[in-house]
């Protein structure tokens, strides 16, 4: 019996879900893997306490977001640009939406990107997102509003994605 067996079991079960969060935050497979692995490496040493007292997954998600925003305060690595193709026969609308959204997310400030992921993908409430980000609810509201406004500005072709009532309530 290895003392890390409990950690291994947890990671095996949850790593793909956590990886999806990391990937949405970073937009890059290598960076996402690096982000998640560096957080997990820190979790290893606290595993006994976390597994006994807390909610490891919530802790890891919070650490992912905080480490990501900390990374992104530093000079950003550039990613190869990929021209967004024009609407055409070879791409369906959903594929095109993903490509445009991916590029638009890359142009958001770190916290804005994080708040989009937390509020509209993780479906966290404003209070929950504030807890994860370590800021006030008011700050989450303003960051969300700014992020959506910026998405609308830099990618007007995404307007249909951002016009659902739930989103309009946040940033009309």
């Amino acid at each position: 019996m290895d003392r890390h067996d409990g950690f291994r079991e947890f990671v095996l079960a949850r790593q793909q879900a956590l990886m999806r969060t990391a990937y949405l935050l970073t937009g890059d497979a290598h960076l996402a893997e690096d982000l998640l692995q560096s957080v997990l490496a820190k979790v290893v040493r606290q595993w006994a306490k976390l597994s006994r007292d807390g909610n490891p997954e919530a802790y890891i998600r919070k650490a992912l977001v905080n480490q990501y925003t900390s990374w992104r305060r530093r000079p950003r690595p550039e990613l190869p640009s990929a021209e967004v193709p024009q609407h055409g026969a070879s791409y369906d609308d959903a594929t095109l939406d993903r490509m445009v959204l991916r590029q638009a997310l890359a142009r958001l400030a770190p916290k804005q990107r994080a708040v989009i992921v937390l509020r509209f993908w993780e479906d966290l409430t404003e209070a929950q997102a504030a807890e994860v980000l370590g800021c006030s609810i008011g700050n989450v509201k303003s960051q969300t509003h700014r992020a959506l406004t910026r998405l609308r500005t830099i990618a007007p072709e995404l307007a249909h994605l951002l016009s659902d009532p739930e989103i309009e309530e946040v940033a009309p």
Binding site: V11, T21, L24, Q37, Q67, W71, A94
Partner: protein, 373 residues
């Protein structure tokens, strides 16, 4: 489910499959080992040489890398070269002199980034491949290169030597660091920095929250100095290593021989320039409070910690990175990411004039700037 959620789901579904448990445990063990080793080294340093650890002297591969007299470097000329023609056949960096460098970048990944390679561009626009400079390791972000602020020295990690190498671009001479760093232990997101005369190399891993303290190496004497935790190297100029503790925000102008002490600023500042020609002011981006609608460069006094003035630069996008000074009043500012648009910003007026556009290249590395992958 909103349509935004559906699109985000689609992106999230593209996340690669991973198996990270054992890798994370191995990384945890490696970090613990490094911490223990560094604690031992630090203790030895305290008992012996007052914090400075003597390492094996550097072994010059041919002759000392750079034999420039330690005079005050002139402001580098930022060439207004067009974006590199990546379709052209690019020659390997030859053995001899090629002249000072304008910038470096990684060739665009065409087959999943396994074929990534570093390329350097000289001040007169010639581009060379640098196959000996490791570009990335399996499953890890890019391994950085660094160019000194004058463009004369290039530092890179050599897979063959399993160590960093400093090359004098004007003579072609190279020095191999005696400090071996196994490829598997290259700190993730490592920052690399080389001084103008090629004598000092600093590397650090800012993405690890100080778990790997940075190191400053004197290439002539072999002295190796551990940098204080939480501080990351920004620039080396005139024998002074500029260290920043992000967010707090502290700035430490540490002579390469040691000494000095951090100064704390009132506010949150990021992306510091090198020290201005006056030897005491720096420019940084003000990140205090809510995000700024327009970028605000702040001139800070590195001796007293006072903010001397705010310089709005409304003509530029928010994503700014001040780097080297061109004169007493103009600082080079890189604008936009991705991309390599450079401007000279007059810190008395906020006016920006374009200097160069290196296009949208991968991991653009500019002279005088600590680079991170």
């Amino acid at each position: 489910m909103t349509r935004l959620r559906q699109a985000l789901d689609g992106i999230a579904a593209e996340a690669p499959l991973v198996n990270l448990a054992d890798a994370a445990i191995a990384r945890h063990r490696r970090r613990r080992l490094v911490t223990t080793s560094l604690a031992t080294v630090a203790l030895a340093g305290v008992m012996g040489a007052g914090g400075v650890v003597m390492a094996t002297p550097w072994r010059p591969a041919a002759e000392p890398a750079v034999q420039v007299a330690p005079t005050a470097p002139t402001a580098p000329t930022v060439p207004t070269v067009p974006a590199v023609d990546r379709a052209a056949v690019v020659a390997d960096l030859p053995e001899g002199p090629v002249g000072r460098l304008s910038h470096a970048y990684q060739a665009t990944c065409e087959t999943g980034c396994d074929d990534a390679e570093w390329r350097v561009v000289t001040s007169d626009g010639k581009t060379y491949r640098v196959p000996r400079a490791l570009a990335r390791t399996a499953g890890r972000p890019a391994v950085p290169v660094a160019i000194s602020r004058s463009g004369r020295a290039l530092a890179y990690y050599s897979r063959e030597a399993q160590a960093h190498v400093v090359r004098d671009m004007e003579t072609g001479a190279e020095v191999v660091s005696p400090v071996k760093v196994p490829e598997a232990e290259i700190p993730r997101g490592a920052m690399l920095l080389v001084s103008d005369d090629g004598r000092y190399v600093a590397f650090d891993d800012p993405q690890e929250f100080g778990d790997y303290p940075g190191v400053l190496i004197d290439t002539r004497t072999g002295e190796r100095t551990m940098l204080k935790r939480d501080f990351e190297p920004v620039a080396i100029k005139d024998g002074v290593l500029e260290l920043v503790r992000p967010v707090k925000t502290d700035l430490w102008l540490m002579p390469v021989t040691g000494g000095g002490e951090p100064v704390r600023f009132d506010g949150v500042f990021v992306r510091f320039s090198e020290v201005a020609p006056d030897g005491r002011t720096v420019v940084a981006l003000d990140m205090t409070g809510t995000p700024k609608q327009e970028p605000v460069l702040t001139v800070l006094d590195a001796k007293t910690g006072k903010a001397l003035r705010k310089v709005p630069a409304p003509a530029l996008a928010v994503d700014l990175m001040p780097t080297v000074w061109l004169s007493d009043t103009e600082v080079t500012v890189r604008n936009g990411a991705p991309g390599g648009r450079l401007y000279a910003v007059d810190i008395t007026t906020g006016k920006a004039r374009p200097l160069a556009d290196h296009g949208e290249v991968l991991h653009l590395t500019l002279p005088g700037r600590a680079t991170s992958s």
